[in-house]
Amino acid sequence: MTSTQKKSTFTILLVGIVLGILLWGGFNWTLELTNTEQFCISCHEMRDTPYQELQETIHFTNRTGVRATCPDCHVPREWIYKIIRKIKATNELYHHFIAKDVDTPEKFEAHRLELAKHVWKTMKETDSRECRNCHDFNSMDFDRQETRAADRHDEAIDKGYTCIDCHKGISHHLPEGYDPGADAPGGDDDEGDDAE
């Protein structure tokens, strides 16, 4: 290798590294910008309905001042799952800009059951992964819970229930057509059916 060749290889390498940092950094920076509450509620679909409902719940204000924002529950933290979710989110762009089928509170209400079922299904499939970013059975002190809650959590560990099996509608209103009284925790488990 001549010294000119060496020089140009070095230049290409240097340019590559700098460009790589800039592009990759820029990509992640933009990605993180789309991962904020501010971004989510910049669309009126989210601002007018789900965000309003969130504000009534313990995930918004509580004793300790820890707040869960939209992406904390709805965007996976792990990189690969996050990218998959972000790609799937392009479907939401279609509904926002072209289909316009949830752009008023009334239309949102009409689709609420369907939308909720999507989220419930995902959470069931991922074993409530996003919940477990913060809530971990290993960190739960059952002595500090109400007896009722402690008993049920104990059962949930034994039988492998996932958070969403019982905790539906904790951050947004429950949809019409879903009956909490008929949904026995544990999914297909029909132990509760014997009630006369």
Partner: protein, 145 residues
């Protein structure tokens, strides 16, 4: 037409007179006490909903049972009723919760429904949660045992 008008004038002046008398007579203490009306308000101690295992005793026959737990997490709307998560026919055994009373499945004409009657839908119209508050005045009421 004239009579009510005169009556109104008399009533207004009476009210006014009473008002001036009340401010003059410091001895007249309201429930609020002698706390200065201009001063900052008294600090109110916060009361929280209480949980009591086993529930509360009824004070009289057919009293709607009191709610022995916190209820802020459960919503009742026209669409669904969060209380039924545990108190429904299907779930109450599993959740070890008392079931919604049989009377709640009847229409006002006595027809039996397979779901909670709409007139019994809003639980907290009759069932109340409890605060850990002392009675404001002495009370010797003894409930029916």
């Amino acid at each position: 037409m004239k009579k009510p008008f005169t009556a109104a004038i008399v009533a207004t002046s009476l009210l006014f007179a009473m008002g001036t008398m009340a401010t003059a007579a410091e001895k007249l203490a309201s429930l609020r006490g002698t706390h200065d009306i201009e001063g900052s308000s008294l600090k109110v101690s916060k009361k929280k909903l209480i949980s009591q295992e086993g529930g509360f005793e009824r004070s009289y026959k057919k009293q709607p049972p009191l709610i022995p737990h916190k209820i802020e997490k459960y919503r009742i709307t026209l669409k669904n009723n969060g209380c039924l998560k545990c108190h429904s026919k299907k779930n109450h055994k599993k959740e070890k919760a008392p079931m919604v009373g049989e009377s709640h499945f009847l229409t006002r004409d006595g027809k039996k429904l397979d779901h909670v009657s709409t007139r019994r839908w809003f639980c907290n119209q009759c069932h109340a949660p409890q605060l850990n508050a002392k009675p404001l005045v002495e009370n010797e009421f003894v409930g029916l045992k």
